[in-house]
Every structure is written in C-alpha cells, then in structure tokens.
C-alpha cells in the first residue's frame, strides 16, 4: 500500500486522536505550570442596621471579584507559577518533616501519597489474583461437560459486562449497614460489623470487586488459549511420567504465557485508573485513588470553582506513573519488533 493511500485511510482516526488525546496532554502540561484566578478587589462596604435614635452603621473592607462590564463574568488572570501546583499536590515539606521525625505513617495522611499508595497496592495485588482465578475458571470449564459450557460462559460474562459503578454498588448494597451479608456475618460471629467504617475492610471489598469484575475477561482468553494446547506435547508429557500438576506447570502455562502477558498488560493499564470503585463504595473519606484525586480537583467546589491547575499537576504525576509502569512491557514489544521479520 502506498504511503498516500495509507495516510488517507488513517487520517480521520489520527486526527481525532491528535485533537482529543495529544492536544489535551500538551494543554494539561502547560496548565500545570499556570494558575488562573479571578481578579479580586477590595471595596469598602457600609452596612446599616436600624437602631434606636440613629442607625448603627459599620464599614468594612470586603474582597470581591471584579466583574467584566461587557460580558458580566468575573475577570480572571493567568499567571505562571512554576512548580507551585506540583508543590501543592505533593506537599514535600510535610513529607520531609515526616521522614525527619520518623513518623512514616504521616506521609499517608497526605492525599496524593495516600492515593498513590492505594493505586499501586491495588494494581499489584489484584494482578496475580486475576490471572490465578481466571486460569482456575478456564481449567474448570474446560473440564466440565460440553452442554454446561454455554450457560457458564453466559453467567461469567455478567460481572465483566456490568457497568463498573453499578457493579461496585451492587456489592456495596450487600455489605452496607443493614445489607444481607453484613447481617448474616453479624449473626454468625455475634459481633457488630461495619464494613465501610475503616479503610482496610473497604480495600478488601475493592480487591474482591475488581477480581470479580476482571476474572471473566482472563477466563475467556485463557479458555480460548486452552483449546489450542498441543495434544501431542501433552501426551508425550504423560508418557514421560509427568504428574497432573507438572503438566500444568511445564506444558499448559508456558503455552498460555503470551496470553498471561497480554492480560497483565491490560490489567496494569485498567487497574492503574481505578476510579469507579471509589464512587460506588463511597469511600472518599477513607480510600482514594490517583484518578479520583484528579476528578475531585476538577469537580466544582461549593463556590463553583474548579482547581484546574492542581488537577493538571496531579494528572501529570498520574501520567508519569503509568509511563514508568509501562516502560518494561513496551521495551519488550519494541525488541520483538526489531527481532521480527519486518
């Protein structure tokens, strides 16, 4: 295919990606060094309240935003502030103070570090669980009678396809104060249980939700991979006296290795932007993630202001994190490509 034809085929897609992905990235990068604020002015306001004989009047200085005469909107100024937004997000002074005094737990009181800690633990802990559970379901389905497989795949797809916010809500409602599983657990243990009052139980439920939600995806892919296992290799392994576990370990898992890498890569990307769980479990007070932090900065506060510059700074930091996480897998792809026959 000639370059020109190739270009015209790809152009619309490329245009969308440049306009709505690459350009916003540059914009975020610039915004993170700027701060836009309404122009404030101080004016004297005299307020009078009726009193006996004379009115009681007080004058005070008030700070109010300047209103543009022409448009009726508040005037804003944009100033370059260098790394200040990053400083506001990272709060390094508090971090150093905590390290200096040896109180490492204090670091996790700061929103950004709290979010980073949770995001990374979440990503790395659920990864082996998803691969393991997915593989186990695939092996079990492969073992089951043919007529059962269709319905089992249908049921398995439900957690995968459900809207993430709704999925986490459905689990939230099971464990909420008077939810059915909480009351059952309370009856068994004889204790008062509040799953959403402390962060570790919430985190536990989040891990559970994520594995429940993603394991079907891993299962379907592994199941497809299992259909192509070389039967000759498997039989020779049996003749050589390999036990069931050894066959799994030395024949099946190596055969599935490319798929495991693929799932790990996708899972890394998706888990790093963990967000819906925070909304569904309403855990803002206890557990937050990096993406939620940016979302929170972008949501207007009570006065209707959005902390765009701080959001941009936290967005840039989030992006640096995912780039670091992906460098290794991407280098591998690049090496494969160079080694390939292209």
């Amino acid at each position: 295919m000639k370059f020109k034809t190739f270009f015209w085929f790809v152009a619309p897609s490329l245009f969308m990606m440049i306009l709505f992905i690459a350009a916003p990235l540059i914009s975020v990068f610039i915004q993170s060094f700027q701060i836009t604020q309404p122009v404030m002015q101080q004016i004297e306001v005299e307020t009078c309240t009726p009193g006996f004989l004379t009115q009681t009047c007080t004058t005070e200085l008030k700070t109010v935003p300047v209103i543009d005469e022409a448009t009726g909107k508040t005037q804003t100024t944009t100033a370059w502030v260098g790394l200040e937004s990053y400083r506001n997000v990272l709060q390094m002074d508090k971090v150093w103070a905590a390290i200096g005094s040896g109180q490492f737990r204090d670091i996790l009181q700061i929103d950004f570090w709290k979010a980073l800690r949770f995001t990374l633990t979440f990503t790395l802990l659920t990864l082996p669980l998803v691969v393991g559970v997915g593989l186990a379901i695939a092996l079990a389905v492969n073992n089951a009678a043919k007529s059962l497989r269709g319905p089992v795949i249908f049921i398995s797809l439900l957690p995968f396809i459900i809207t993430p916010v709704i999925g986490s809500l459905s689990i939230y409602w099971l464990f909420v104060g008077d939810g059915i599983l909480t009351t059952t657990l309370e009856r068994w243990t004889g204790q008062d249980i509040a799953m959403f009052a402390q962060s570790w139980t919430i985190e536990l439920l989040m891990y559970f939700y994520r594995v429940w939600h993603v394991a079907p995806f891993a299962f379907v892919i592994f199941y497809a991979g299992l259909q192509t296992v070389n039967m000759d290799t498997l039989e020779s392994a049996i003749i050589d006296g390999a036990s069931r576990f050894e066959r799994l370990r030395y024949v099946i898992v190596p055969h599935l290795m490319p798929l495991i890498v693929f799932i790990a890569l996708i899972h890394l990307m998706d888990c790093y932007r963990v967000f819906e769980e925070i909304i569904g479990f309403r855990s803002e007070a206890h557990v937050i993630s990096l993406q939620w932090l940016t979302f929170d900065f972008l949501t207007p506060d009570d006065a209707g202001n959005r902390a765009i510059s701080r959001a941009s700074a936290s967005a840039m930091l989030t992006m640096i994190g995912i780039v670091i996480l992906l460098i290794l897998p991407l280098r591998r792809t690049w090496r494969d490509h160079k080694g390939g026959a292209h």
């Binding site: 619309p12 990235l25 092996l139 073992n143 059962l148 269709g150 916010v165 892919i221 932007r273």
Partner: protein
C-alpha cells in the same frame, strides 16, 4: 489410549465441578440480589433474613403479591417469548425484509417485538391472571411479594427516561462514529507493513493506557470557555462545548479509538489480502476494493468492535459526569444523584431500581451477542 491416560480421578472432577458451581453463584449473586431487592418494599429489601427478602412478607401484606398461578404462567410466558425471539423472530424478519435492508429490518423487528412484549406482559397478562386468580382458590392466593412501585417512581416521577434518552444518544453516537473512523484506520494499518504503521499502533497503545481524568483535565478549561475562544472563527454561532452531548461523543470516540483500531486491525488481518489484491488487479482503487470487497465480509468484526464501543459509551462515568451538566446527564452519573438524596430506605431502594434499569440492557446484550463478545475478547488477544 490417551482418553484413559488423561482420565481424571473422581475427586478432581468433583472439586472442579464444585469450584465452577461456586464461581457461578459468586458471579450471579450480587446482580440477582439487586434485582430481587428492587421489587420489594423498603422494609423487605433490607430485612435481616434472606428468606424475608425473597418472599417479601411486608410487600405482600401491602397487597402486592404473586400467586403460584401467576408465577407458573408468567414464567411459561417468559420462556416462550425468549425462545420465540431466538427461533421465530429471525425467520419472520428474514421473510419480511428485503435482503439489502436486513439491518434495518432487525432494528424495526426488535423494536416491534419489545413493544408487543411489554403490552402483553405488563398490560394483558395481569388482567387475565387477576380474573383467573379470583376463581382459582388456594392456587390463586398471593405467596410472593412483588411490587413495581420503585420502577414507576424512578422512571415516572424522577424522569429517568430523560437520562435514558441521553445515554442512548451518546452511546449511539459513539458506536457509529467510532466504527466509521475505526474501520478505515484498522484496514489501513492491517494492510500496511510499514514502520509508520507499527509506531502508530504503539502510540495508540500508550494512548490507551492514559487515565481518562488526565484527558478531561485538558478538555475542561477549553470546553467551558469555547464560546469565547471560537468567536473569531465562527462569530456569534460559536458553541459552548461544555454540556453538549456531541462534544462528549467526540471525546469518547477519541478515547475509544486506540482500542478500536487495534481490534479491527486484528480482524482485518484475518481477511486474506489476496481478496483485495484480486480486486486491485481487476482495476479497483484501494477505496473501491475496501468498499466492494472488504465491506461485505467485515461485519462480524465490526459487530464485535461495536459491542465494545457500546460498552465504553454506556458505562462511562468520569467523562460524562464532568463534561455534561445536570440537564442532559446520562444514566450512570445520574444515579450518583441518588446518593445525595439517599436519606430514607425508600430512596435507597429507588436507587437499586435505577441500578437494575441500567443493567437490564446489558443483560439483554450478553444474551443476544454472547458469541460475538467472546470472539472479540479472544481476537484482541490473538495478536496482543
């Protein structure tokens, strides 16, 4: 010989079967449970014993109940309707619609089927059953509490249908635009072995990894002020992009592009390139070859990719909640509005009913397109 050597001991079979059963219960239980909760009165929905939640004594006492007869006839009707949808309906549609308009035929057919089903199931059936129950004696007395009041409240009083329409507009837009743009790019990438194509794919992979909040942080200031920024170009007609469904569609399409082109590319690679080369030899240009030779055979891949685009548009919370305002909010962010009001248990059960309403279309989707979803997941992994 191999069958004997690979035969499994009974214990392993039982363990594997038990694990599978456990997984199925685990996978279906939360969804099943919110469906049950949504049709009970608030006191039953949050009752302490599971049996009370299922049978719903309070709901039943309030006069909303199903008798044995209701359940048996209702289930029989449901099973028959679903089976007919998979056997009778396709034949009827194939018979009635001209071959060139088969897609349109399916859309009209599905809509008519849905309307007729709702009329029969919720309109005619209760009237008949009410009359039958009155003369059926013990079989006709209510045993299972069931009420649709929360659905009526959600869809009627809270005007959830407006959110539903917004969701449908956004989702339909995302699917159509993403597929149109994506098929062209996917085909181009599959047929070009150049280094540039490889780098584009890697770039798309990196774009796919970006958290969406990063991108939204880039859009927001521009979208809010777009009327002033665009004024020099479009004059007074320049729109404020914030709160516009079509702006959200453009954003979601772009976010979805990396995934779409990867998936469609792997589908196009499975179509032998001899096919379009033959067309080229016969004098077609690349675009003509694409339109006349590739388009007729690409539908399985397009349907699968379309399903995943549908899921992205339908399930999105972050982008729609930040870029749309309250007037044209889609369903998923709208449910967050219930959190703030959720002061009484009635509100909670209404939120549950809204959640089930959002899940129902997805449930239908899996039922109809299970095979395509599975093949799509696998195709993405073939050439990861």
């Amino acid at each position: 010989m191999s069958s004997k050597a690979t035969a499994q001991p009974l214990s392993l079979k039982i363990a594997s079967g038990a694990f599978l059963a456990f997984w199925c219960v685990l996978a279906a239980f939360p969804i099943f449970w919110i469906a049950v909760m949504s049709v009970k009165s608030p006191r039953d929905a949050f009752a302490a014993s599971a049996w009370d939640v299922i049978t719903g004594p309070v709901t039943q006492a309030a006069g909303n109940g199903l008798s044995v007869l209701d359940i048996v006839i209702g289930l029989a009707f449901l099973v028959y309707a679903v089976r007919w949808a998979f056997t009778g309906l396709p034949k009827l549609i194939a018979h009635l619609s001209p071959p060139a308009w088969i897609v349109l035929g399916w859309l009209v057919g599905a809509a008519v089927y849905a309307v007729v089903f709702v009329l029969l199931f919720f309109g005619l059936l209760p009237i008949i059953l009410g009359a039958v129950n009155a003369i059926a004696g013990p079989l006709g007395t209510p045993i299972l509490g069931l009420t649709t009041e929360h659905y009526v409240a959600v869809w009627g009083e809270n005007a959830f249908y407006e959110n539903f329409i917004n969701s449908m507009i956004v989702t339909a837009g995302v699917v159509t635009v993403s597929l149109t743009v994506g098929t062209l790019a996917g085909y181009g990438l599959a047929r070009s072995g150049s280094n540039l194509a490889f780098w584009l794919l890697i770039l798309a992979l990196i774009f796919r990894a970006l958290p969406h909040s990063v991108l939204v942080a880039g859009y927001l200031p521009w979208f809010i002020n777009s009327a002033e920024i665009l004024r020099p170009i479009f004059g007074e007609l320049s729109p404020t992009l914030y709160g516009q469904p079509w702006a959200v569609i453009a954003v979601l399409v772009a976010i979805n592009q990396p995934f779409t082109i990867w998936m469609l590319r792997s589908f196009f690679q499975n179509i032998p390139s001899e096919l379009d080369e033959a067309a080229r030899v016969d004098g077609c240009s690349h675009f003509q070859a694409f339109r006349r030779v590739i388009m007729p055979v690409m539908w399985p891949g397009v349907i699968t990719t379309g399903l995943f685009s549908f899921l992205l548009g339908y399930n999105d919370f972050l982008v729609t909640s930040l870029l749309l305002d309250a007037q044209n909010q889609t369903m998923v962010p709208a449910i967050a509005g219930y959190f703030n009001r959720e002061t009484t248990t009635t509100d909670q059960v209404e939120a549950v009913a809204a959640a089930v309403s959002i899940t129902a279309p997805l449930f239908l989707l899996v039922m109809v397109f299970q095979r395509q979803i599975v093949s799509g997941l696998t195709a993405g992994a073939v050439k990861g």
